[in-house]
C-alpha cells in the first residue's frame, strides 16, 4: 500500500510538471487533439499507480513522449501553416454572407436542425440574422450577426468613452496585493484612505476589494453572522 502511496505522490508531481511545461494553450482545449493528449496523459499516469508490477519509468516514458510530441507539433505548427492545418484542421464557413453553404454542412455531417440549434445557443434567433457562421477547428460555432442585428455600441452613437484599465484585486481575504496596487496605479496610503472613507478600519474584515476598469474601488466585507460578503463602497 505504501508503494502505491509513494507512486501516486511521484506521479502527481510528474503530471503537474508535464501539464505546466505543455502550457496553457494545451489546457485550453483549443483543438480536439490537444484535449485527447491531455486525457491520454491522465490515463497513462494511472497505469503505474494501478499496477505495481509496471515500472514507474514505463509510465513516465509514455507521458514524457506524449509531452515531447505535443510540444514539438505545437512548435512546428507555429512556424508552418500547412503543418498547423494538418494537425489542427481549419475553420469551415457554414454561413457565408447570409448564404448557407450546404456542401460544407454535408461534408461536416451537420443537419440544418443542428445548425439552427447552434445558432440559437449563440443568441441568433434565425439564419436570417446571421452574416457569417464559422465552425472553428475546436468544434465551436462562431456567429457574426448582420450589421442591422448587432447591438448598439457607444461608437455607433458617437459617444467618446475613456480608456479603461484592467480590473485588479487589491485585497483578498484581508491580504493586500502590493504588486496589484502598483499595476493599478494605487498606493497603500490612498487605499487606506479609501477604506476609512468607506468605514472599514480593519483590513482583516475585507473579503474582497478590487479596482474596476474606471478606477472605482469596490469593497466586500465579511459578516460573521452571514454567509454573504456585502459591498460597502456604494
Amino acid at each position: 500500500m505504501l508503494i502505491i502511496f509513494i507512486r501516486t505522490v511521484l506521479l502527481y508531481f510528474i503530471v503537474l510538471f508535464v501539464i505546466r511545461i505543455m502550457g496553457k494553450a494545451e489546457l485550453s482545449k483549443m483543438s480536439p487533439f490537444q484535449m485527447v493528449v491531455v486525457f491520454m496523459i491522465a490515463e497513462l499516469a494511472s497505469i503505474p499507480i494501478e499496477s505495481p508490477e509496471v515500472s514507474l519509468i514505463t509510465g513516465v516514458t509514455a507521458i514524457f513522449t506524449l509531452m515531447f510530441i505535443q510540444i514539438l507539433i505545437s512548435y512546428i505548427s507555429l512556424k508552418n501553416e500547412k503543418f498547423k492545418n494538418f494537425f489542427s484542421g481549419r475553420p469551415s464557413i457554414l454561413i457565408d454572407n447570409g448564404n448557407i453553404n450546404h456542401k460544407e454542412l454535408k461534408s461536416l455531417r451537420i443537419t440544418i436542425n443542428d445548425l439552427m440549434e447552434q445558432l440559437r445557443l449563440g443568441s441568433a434567433a434565425s439564419v436570417s440574422e446571421v452574416a457569417y457562421a464559422i465552425m472553428e477547428s475546436n468544434g465551436d460555432l462562431s456567429i457574426i450577426q448582420k450589421p442591422e442585428n448587432k447591438p448598439l455600441t457607444p461608437k455607433d452613437l458617437s459617444i467618446n468613452k475613456d480608456d479603461e484599465t484592467m480590473p485588479v484585486v487589491l485585497i483578498s481575504d484581508g491580504v493586500i496585493y502590493n504588486k496589484n496596487l502598483l499595476i493599478s496605479g494605487w498606493n497603500k496610503d490612498r487605499l487606506e484612505a479609501e477604506l476609512l472613507k468607506a468605514g472599514v478600519e480593519n483590513c482583516n474584515n475585507i473579503f474582497l476589494a478590487f479596482c474596476d476598469g474606471v478606477g472605482v474601488l469596490h469593497i466586500f466585507v465579511k459578516d460573521e453572522y452571514s454567509a454573504y460578503a456585502k459591498e460597502v463602497s456604494k
Binding site: G23, S55, F68
Partner: protein, 127 residues
C-alpha cells in the same frame, strides 16, 4: 522554445539511461547464458556438483545486482519469474538432482533470453 528544450531534455533523461541499461543488460544476459551453457550444464552432465554449484552461485550473485537495476526498467513480474526459476535451479543443484537441474537450467536460459528479446526494438515487439 523553452518548453521544447525542457521536453527534449526530459526525453534524453529517459533515453540515455535506457540505452546504457540496454547495453549493460545485453552484456549481462550473454554472460549468464554463457556461464550456464558452458560451465553449469556440462558440470551437471559430469555430475561435478561442486563446479556446477560454484558456477551457478556466481551467476546468482551477479543476477541479484542486475535485478536491482532492472527493477527500474523492466516489468517486475517477468523479473520475479526469472528469479524464481533461478532459485529453483540452485536448489536442484544443491539436492544433486541432475535431471531437474538441467531442465531448470535450460528453462532459465530461455527466460533470460526472452527478458532481453522482449525489450529489443523489433517489428514483432513494436506491433
Amino acid at each position: 522554445m523553452k518548453s521544447l528544450i525542457i521536453s527534449i531534455v526530459c526525453m534524453l533523461v529517459l533515453v540515455v539511461p535506457w540505452n546504457i541499461y540496454n547495453n549493460y543488460a545485453n552484456y549481462k544476459i550473454e554472460y549468464y547464458s554463457s556461464v550456464i551453457q558452458h560451465e553449469t550444464v556440462p558440470a551437471l552432465s559430469n555430475k561435478d556438483w561442486f563446479k556446477a554449484k560454484e558456477s551457478f552461485k556466481r551467476v546468482m550473485e551477479d543476477w541479484k545486482k542486475f535485478k536491482r537495476t532492472s527493477d527500474y526498467f523492466l516489468n517486475s513480474s517477468s523479473l520475479n519469474d526469472t528469479n524464481i526459476i533461478m532459485n529453483e535451479t540452485y536448489s536442484h543443484i544443491l539436492k544433486h538432482d541432475e535431471d531437474d537441474a538441467a531442465a531448470c537450467s535450460s528453462k532459465l536460459i530461455q527466460m533470460l533470453e526472452l527478458l532481453h528479446d522482449n525489450e529489443q526494438i523489433t517489428p514483432g515487439n513494436v506491433f
